[in-house]
Symmetry: C2
Subunit: 401 residues, 2 copies
């Protein structure tokens, strides 16, 4: 007998039919002799509907009250799923975040899980109940309802799996697993059987968001085997774990990220500390910088380019412009018609020439590279946004055809 | 400085505009130097919508899961009201039933309040917060979410008022107070300034449901002064308290109840214990009997007539028919085209002829009386449902014009 944690996102439970579908998956797993803990998100658009209600009344409402409001979403979905499980003739117990023992920090709307007291979950499992837990939510030491922020339900599921030493944590979603490229765009994209935590983390940050990063980090830390699979297709998905058999493969995927903007500061005086001062202006505003490129200085001047999330782009320019120009820079350029294309693979570490192969594919497709960034298991390039899909296809076919 | 508990029902908070309206009432009361605890129901049709979702999935869902589902309704409304209060520049703290200290029995969907630990409410009041409490809900000793059943939010409000020795408990609703008759039907119906707990209790059971009975009983027990008033009209409402100045008035109101059915068992053998056996069949099914009329027996036979709620009528007949007929009764007749018209007033006790005056009004209007029932402060008659409105007008004008 195994202990399996299953997590279902909002689209998987969006209406009565989908809720019944999830109940069937869950009870099938239970009927095979497993203990089952199910973590559920709010139904379909519930969260957005609740946010709209709040916006209409007070767009500047306190975070505490936002959490109180949003947590009602999962409360509805856990009750409905428990009812669906009962309908199929099994015993179910739904538990809110605080009932399931989720103690969090008091950082409302983006709380961190401090610990999970799984006693009530275990008690219900011992009574042969399928336990349905509200994802995304917990309780602070002060006894206030908190939420974990975006993708929080994935994290809730992994946290339970870690606290209970579960044998497997299945993340059901609307895709069938992790692919070598976006299957809607690249015809012969392949579903990966396995992928390592690190590769998954790189893919998640690169816009191929199948799993929330915090949940993958937590799974890695506690060695929780994850499976990403679809709640609609009856097929095995992609296993995420430490060591994979796939490591001989050069790369595990090609990812595209169009939520990116490039900022170039031209003619920066070549004096010590200027880059530090520039980037500290951005970190003061909590703006994350991704790729950084600095030209070799000449005539006492240099150019510094970097990328940020598109949504923070204008703000980043505003934070820098006056300061840099008054300190001798010529101008600050902004371009959000760019895309970041990345290849990820643990195999890269031991294989030379992976980056070269990627560049060759782009050259063959006559695509200009604006910036390059590399890490141990990743190569990213910045290109014109209009070339993005062509670039993904070209690179994918170079490596996988 | 006074402590005032204010309760708002679902229609009072049904949309953003109404929520802001409630926030204005609440903050005005606070700005006048009072401590304010607000108890709110779920918005407008939320509860019905949630029930519909549950019905679609599993009409026979466990009561525990029904409570889990329904309690989400008030969670949404307390968060929205707190946000609206913040919008007006005041501090608000929303609290769920369990956070507000509502310990209840574990009778899901109709739990009884055991006690209210008001520490968290008091703590928030001490910090000059307006406290917004989810009505209708609590927590059992096992840590499960419970709900109090119909009208539960009124009871929640009175329970807080009792536990905190509040100076006043205001029940805001969509009528302006308690009237001498239904103001939509009877033109010159008058709003009462005051009414006693006992009169209010009789009116509530008689279909003039302004306040939930449990809440009035609790208010009486703890001598909590209630005020029934409208959240839309800026007018004082009706005060419900022990002794009223109005007791000199003969009656305080005329009420109509059309949720009633008459059952007559004809030709019951005149032997001891037969009535007991008959009514115990009904109480076994939890069917409440209201008016009972027994004819004087002759030829060893008698007729027994009684009324039940219309929704339980057919069930009552089914429970009795075979048994009574096989024990010698001739037949069981059923009629749900009836209405119960009642007059209520503490003044009756000391004034003879009140019932006579009522019967005279009905006689003048040529309305036939089928059954009569009296208590110390009430006279009820059963008549044809088609005469109901005419009867109310005739009686009202006899006493009040």
């Amino acid at each position: 007998m195994s202990l399996i944690v299953q997590k279902f996102g909002g689209t998987s439970v969006r209406d009565a039919e989908r809720v019944m579908n999830v109940a069937r998956i869950v009870t099938d797993t239970f009927a095979q002799g497993n203990d089952v803990v199910v973590v559920v998100s709010a139904q379909g658009d519930t969260t957005d509907d609740l946010i709209a209600k709040a916006e209409e009344i007070n767009p500047k409402a306190s975070r505490r009250e936002k959490d109180m409001l949003l947590a009602a979403g999962e409360q509805i979905s856990i009750a409905l799923l428990a009812m669906a499980i009962e309908k199929l003739g099994y015993h179910a117990t739904s538990l809110l975040g605080w009932q399931a023992g989720f103690e969090t920090s008091s950082a409302h709307t983006s709380a961190r899980i401090r610990r999970v007291n799984v006693e009530r979950i275990r008690e219900a499992l011992d009574k042969k109940n399928i336990v349905v837990v509200a994802g995304f939510q917990g309780i602070s030491r002060r006894g206030d309802i908190t939420t974990l922020g975006r993708g929080g339900s994935d994290t809730s599921a992994v946290a339970i799996a870690a606290a209970m030493h579960a044998d497997l944590c299945q993340i059901y979603t609307d895709v069938e697993g992790v692919y070598t490229a976006d299957p809607r765009k690249v015809e012969n994209a392949k579903k990966l059987k396995e992928i390592s935590y690190d590769e998954m983390l790189e893919l998640a940050t690169l816009g191929a968001q199948v799993l929330n990063n915090r949940s993958v980090e937590m799974a890695k830390k506690y060695s929780i085997e994850l499976e990403v699979l679809s709640s609609l297709a009856k097929a095995s998905g992609t296993i995420v774990k430490e060591k994979t058999k796939m490591e001989k493969m050069l790369i595990s995927g090609v990812a595209k990220d169009t939520d990116v903007a490039r900022i170039s500061v031209i003619g920066v005086p070549n004096i010590p500390g200027i880059a530090f001062k520039m980037f500290s202006k951005l970190s003061a505003k909590d703006i994350n910088v991704d790729i950084i490129l600095q030209s070799i200085g000449h005539d006492g001047k240099k150019d510094i380019s970097f990328t940020v999330a598109k949504s923070r782009g204008k703000e980043a320019v505003a934070a820098l412009e006056d300061y840099m120009v008054s300190h001798g820079a010529k101008e600050v350029l902004y371009d959000d018609e760019v895309a970041k294309i990345s290849i990820v693979g643990a195999g890269m570490e031991s294989h030379a020439g992976v980056a070269t192969k990627m560049f060759e594919a782009l050259y063959d497709a006559q695509i200009n590279i604006q910036m390059i960034s590399t890490s141990e298991i990743k190569v990213s390039v910045l290109i014109d946004i209009n070339d993005a899909d062509k670039a993904v296809k070209a690179i994918h076919s170079k490596f996988f055809d």
